[in-house]
Amino acid sequence: MKQIFSILMVLIMGWLLVSLVPLGQPTEPGSVAQHYIQHGVEENRGANLVTSVIVNYRGLDTLGEVTVLFLSVAGAGFVLRRRDTGLRHRCRPSSEIVQTGARLLFAPTLVFGAYIFVHGHLSPGGGFQGGAVVASAVLMLLLADRRIRLPHLFMNWMESMVGFAYVLTGLAGLIVAGSFLSNQGLLPLGTWNTLFSAGVIPVIYILVGLKVGTELASLLDNMIDTGRLYASSEGDQP
């Protein structure tokens, strides 16, 4: 009975989606998007319009989004709170090759992540993507060598300070140009399509990249720690 109801729900969902989504005709940009496309470069000097939308036009939403990410990571950290059972894990360490390889690749992956979020206003990329790459570098290191612990104090400070700097940048825009997270008058806009351009957009995206990177890394560390704890309390090999 329940199964039939579920299948019925799924069918209704599929039918709704197919009837709601305009299949077949490609959509044209709306009036807001037209403004972004036509005036985005002269207003912000950033080549990547998606970055201009995220960091400048909808910058407040991005601040909210970073907050949501922080909340979900904080929630996960709260749920996964460490209770030290006193048991040590007895899983087999990974091989020398894996450990050395992970250490070798760690720094280049970090640099690659930094490259992605520094060039967010010029090419596909930005703070969120670069932060994810940074976090994956940390994940690789954590998975390869289980003895490695992250410097929690440093990570917490980094995360808080970067978030604080984001809000401060917004407030500076409010003081200088009269609107929160404004891009006018705070930093020189520079020339289009060069690294030092687009005013505060790269600054904010670097902050976002650092914040997302540290947040995701500490989330992964929490999860791995908890998994290690269960593995040790049950005595089986993970």
Binding site: Q3, S6, I7, M9, V10, M13, G14, L17, V18, V21, P22, L23, G24, P26, T27, E28, P29, G30, V32, A33, Q34, Y36, I37, Q38, G40, V41, A47, N48, L49, V50, S52, V53, I54, R58, D61, T62, E65, V68, L69, L71, S72, V73, G75, A76, V79, L80, L122, S123, P124, G126, F128, A132, N193, V212, L216, N222, M223, T226, G227, Y230
Partner: protein
């Protein structure tokens, strides 16, 4: 359907992903598979929004060529892409939160079966 343009194909794939994820979340009993279902719905939604803004005749909204600067007809709408970019990050956060709940629930009952957790049900 006679002419299957790329964006129609994206849209159909997105709908299929959403429906599969929805079915998985409703029908499966394993908590991990339910979380996987939600993650699939998420992915399907991202593809859906991105596909709604896509157009095979236009290029990405990155104006790094001088020829793109004066021509608003050459690039696609940047708004859906910005939306999806933010949605992906939120999706990661939600999946992580769900997975940590699953870890906690497993610690309580030593089971991943949803039927074990009927205590609050009517």
């Amino acid at each position: 359907m006679t002419d299957l343009s790329p964006s129609t194909l994206y849209l159909l794939t997105a709908i299929a992903l959403i429906v599969i994820g929805f079915a998985g979340a409703l029908i499966r009993r394993n908590l991990l598979k339910i979380v996987l279902g939600f993650a699939l719905i998420d992915t399907g939604l991202h593809l859906l929004i991105a596909a709604l803004g896509s157009n095979p005749d236009r290029t990405a909204p990155i104006l790094n060529q001088p020829s793109l600067l004066g021509n608003p007809d050459l690039v696609v709408d940047p708004v859906p892409q910005a939306l999806v970019l933010t949605a992906i990050v939120i999706g990661v956060g939600i999946t992580a939160l769900l997975l940590s709940y699953v870890i906690r629930l497993y610690a309580v009952r030593k089971s991943l079966d949803i039927r074990e957790f009927g205590r609050l049900k009517w």
